[in-house]
Symmetry: D2
Subunit: 364 residues, 4 copies
């Protein structure tokens, strides 16, 4: 279970950062979906290292291989296993880190929980684990797109540099977002963000930021009343990503500053269907999508790995100093954009299938 | 699945607001725990309506009955079913609401998803559903307490009235929190919050706020590396509560304003074990508890039901006006405090059992 | 989990034999199904004690109460909780059994596993637990019937008295089966079975037998290729019933006496669709229903409770004698017929919903 | 879900017979278990084709590669992915089979359910899928063996040739079973079985048989009271194997011919603990292991692929003849022996972990 996600469109990821390979198995995929490794690869390329001058200079092609579940270019309804071989395994760069716990990393907790850990490149705690999520998410995205669902994530803030609210009023295009290495749709802000990331990197430091994700074209009815509310599953999906510290949907934390009379989304009949005049709900009411845009924010902390000396303890608990080495992202947020989209797609498709099963299978 | 929560300590809730009863079944409870209805009732009394002059004046005793799984005062390891009969069913107060969709409520989405809904008092979407969570959480809390785990939730902000940060430095006592009807541990702030809630109620309006939850005594090792990270499951648990809009752990959204060198929690040897000098991680690193205090915030929107006229549409989609009636909480946050604690206990105990199974069953 | 069954149409049962009540919660039921307590009761009446002169003379009406999930006579898509109060609690009859382990009962294993057990009437291990299964199964049966699926279980053998094979060639009607207290469709055999059961009871002894279950009207496509094969889930469902010792589908154990050339079901085009000329597969091929009749047998051991003195040990492990008391079925098989049907319905409906979700939700 | 098995020790298999690879991911494995590919390979070698002169002459080495979850020879508690490349892909041999449905195979049901299938070598329905089960089972077996659990499967009957009951009185050694290609511990019977298999193969026909599995060293307490009874999960595990038609535990179908007074297992104090004088229960009472030998039988039908011409229909439903080709096992039962053991190990270990979680984590 710990390495599986979803109920009906269910993925299981496996693999360590510097092991032989990283991969994912997708179970429950609808059959006859045309899919190719090229399409999966396109999404993986958006998350791979070395894609721009503000990401880690590590060069890994992260080439995906489909091992099962696809026959003559179509899914067969059986599990789809996808694998990426690890090629850039400079374990020596990490040798010092084996002996001490890196601050704000998973070293200490993994070692204590399991009594053993693969220290190379963080092992299972490495963000390379998300390769499997992005590969599986590419399939989910394509299925959802066939029904008109568009998922768009982008950066709204890096460190304290935020895109102006008005620049985010419209649903941004993929081109707008991919136009800059930092994936902020507002060009001027993007330029300043990139500058900040470079400046911080020059100091061996790191920064975090906020990703916003919007989805349009979602039908009314996805999500469940109680525990599996759509926002609950989205929150879990996002907080399951490395380096995330917060999630808010619609009005979010700011919504608690409004009165009910200011916050409520009034219903009206627009475009021939029931719509809300505002969208403080963020597209979900009572745990179920209401047909409006789904909109949520995810907070990312600054990368824990910094190229500075830090106090810590070794495996025996004795104080020591650790100097970060290796080639790391001074800011993981730009590469996290496709990962947020992938997880969103996985949640939405899973709920789509669940809704179909319970509510569209029988008419009485 | 939609009405179940947890993998090993698994609860299933059922019941509508104005149906015959509301209840919960707890499956997987460790045997031989001494437990009585009186202990469950004590937690239910903290969430019941009519408990103070700032909650709904509805009077429901919410008396719990244990129907199974307990023999001679001890759990037997078989499912524990607990039931609360609904006594105050003034459905007439809701009759108008049957015909129109209440803004920012679940009426529209339930009706569209299922093609039918129980409109009385919100049916399944009522916050009365949380009775089952609190009853089950009372059991989980007692089990955790037997190992020294303390869970404490309280209000840090109502509308724009926030407790001063320094007043929250220490782990508050239960007495401090229960001292006021609003469950904010800072007495002066609590008084102002109560005043605000009363003022807003007088205007037929509502407000929201923020609950903070802290847990101490959690051992290192709870949580899973990937999808079932402890913070991911906590986020899901919180966003599964009615009226929640956001979740953040440790440094949260604010953490993204810091640099890595400012944000990292350095390790040291303190009190004979590995500790961190700061706790921006909020007690979780790499998805796994690190033995520090778990600390997170949950945002609640203002109550959707307000005693004002609002524009909406009827079931046919025609514009209409709806005047809120009935007896409602002008602010649900104070009564949500025990619910947040209950969900926290459910998450922690489930992960405790999971960790025991995988990591404490075999020695090689 | 241990007390839940099914993935999408998921039931959770709870309750002890002599506790306050026995019940079940059904989660994931399709909405808008017309259903009433009367329909549920009809199935429960087929399994209740005291229904004929060959069952236990205990008189329990087993009256079902629907507590949630049904509004104005239709399911709402939210969990359906159904409860039966226990009325006939003659615990004194069992007092001796508290002190010693009844042979071939669950006393010893429960006590050792949990360190505690509710000994009254067997507690959770009582066959009264199946009340919840039958109540939930009644709903599943009605849903399946709306698509033309008919499930028919009946007795083919009691002790060594077996119905002649030719008498079972046709799909028996419900009337045929319910015509006798023993639920064997062949009247002459039924009479001999009843005689045997009475004779055995007179000696304070018990007998077992075999139930056959057939299902017609199942579409091609239910079941999953690998672990969740239809016959695997049916086998689990049947072996989860008290007193069952074996399961076989289609040709079963006898099939292993044939050669492949004798055993294979040849395909032909009949009635305008692909059919098999024989049905040694029992309606399932490759784990998936093939549209032919599903046919399987379930073996039941003789009732463990006999009114004779038996050697056993007490809780301290000391040898003792135990004389069975109380009012018991000398043969549980007749009352197990509706239970077998209920479990079959639960398996088939769950797979129907799963198939809908994966294979009927998207067209590419 | 359809391709996953187990709750806490959870495996997910993937891969088609003639695709690039077959594999399995094991989630929830206890950490620090010493394990190597060599140990996994030893079990795989017992199921691989071409291992003797009564199996298919196909030569596939089925060499396993461990891709994750093992560090310096020990499990790390993270998912273990194991992969076997398919090397012998003579798809041309199957070309005719693409156009017609092979009798008693999964062709028709897969095609109808999914609207597509990989026809090469049966695709996902091939018994090659069990490679993943055996690899995962090898790990489970080693863990169980560390606590003294021994699992032994063997053949008791091929076609109508059965080993004499007395030859099976004692728990057979692995050596006894592996002494002959047919894996029947009684040498004389084994010789006759081999002769029969060869004779049948010479006629282009096939036969089935019965596997018995025994487990000793299982502690009291594995299994759950209701749906997840140990025998229910074993039955599901066995019926999830290709070609199985029946399962019986302990006295099985024959048990229904006895009276209660003959069938009950009396308790006694033996060897300082509570034992039963007989074992008609087959080691499980009330769904929970009682410390006696677990003993069950599994029926296998004759191999569906025979080298004879058979009537069938093509994909359009038109009558046609199909002549079996390719290199097939005239009897799959000998190669199924390690698979039965693997599935048994998976069930037992999963229940061991579940029991630990609920019943061994807390003392009150």
């Amino acid at each position: 279970m710990p390495n599986s996600f979803g109920h009906l469109f269910r993925i299981t990821t496996w693999g360590e950062s510097h092991g032989p390979a990283i991969g994912v198995t997708v179970d429950g995929c609808p059959p006859r979906l045309p899919i190719s490794a090229v399409e999966i690869q396109a999404e993986l390329d958006r998350r791979r290292p070395g894609q721009s001058d503000i990401t880690t200079p590590r060069k890994e092609a992260d080439t995906v291989e489909i091992l099962s579940g696809v026959y003559e270019g179509q899914t067969t309804g059986t599990p789809i296993c996808m694998l990426v071989r690890n090629t850039d395994q400079r374990s020596s760069a990490y040798s010092e880190m084996k002996a001490a716990f890196r601050p704000s990393h998973a070293d200490f907790t993994y070692q204590t929980k399991f009594g053993i850990r693969d220290p190379n490149g963080g092992g299972r705690s490495s963000a390379r684990e998300t390769i499997g999520r992005v590969a599986a998410g590419a399939i989910a995205k394509k299925i959802l797109a066939s029904r008109g669902v568009e998922i768009r994530a982008y950066i709204t803030r890096i460190h304290d540099i935020a895109a102006p609210a008005e620049s985010l009023a419209d649903f941004p295009s993929l081109e707008q977002i991919e136009a800059t290495a930092v994936r902020c749709p507002h060009a001027d802000t993007a330029a300043r963000m990139i500058e900040r990331i470079k400046a911080v990197r020059a100091e061996g430091d790191s920064v975090g930021g906020v990703i916003q994700c919007r989805v349009r074209g979602v039908p009314v009815g996805l999500g469940e009343p109680v525990f599996d509310r759509l926002e609950a599953d989205l929150a879990k999906a996002m907080l399951s990503l490395p380096a995330t510290k917060g999630f808010e949907i619609g009005s979010g934390f700011g919504g608690s500053l409004l009165r009910g009379s200011e916050h409520n989304d009034l219903f009206e009949n627009r475009d021939g269907r029931v719509r809300t005049t505002t969208n403080r709900s963020g597209g979900v009411q009572g745990g179920i999508s209401n047909g409006e845009e789904i909109l949520f924010n995810v907070a990312f902390k600054p990368t824990a790995t910094i190229l500075q000396s830090q106090s810590t303890v070794d495996l025996a608990g004795n104080p020591t100093e650790l100097m970060g080495k290796g080639r790391h992202d001074p800011c993981v947020v730009p590469r996290a954009v496709p990962i947020v989209e992938a997880m969103t797609a996985l949640v939405l498709l899973d709920h789509w299938l669940r809704d179909s099963a319970q509510n569209r299978s029988f008419e009485f």
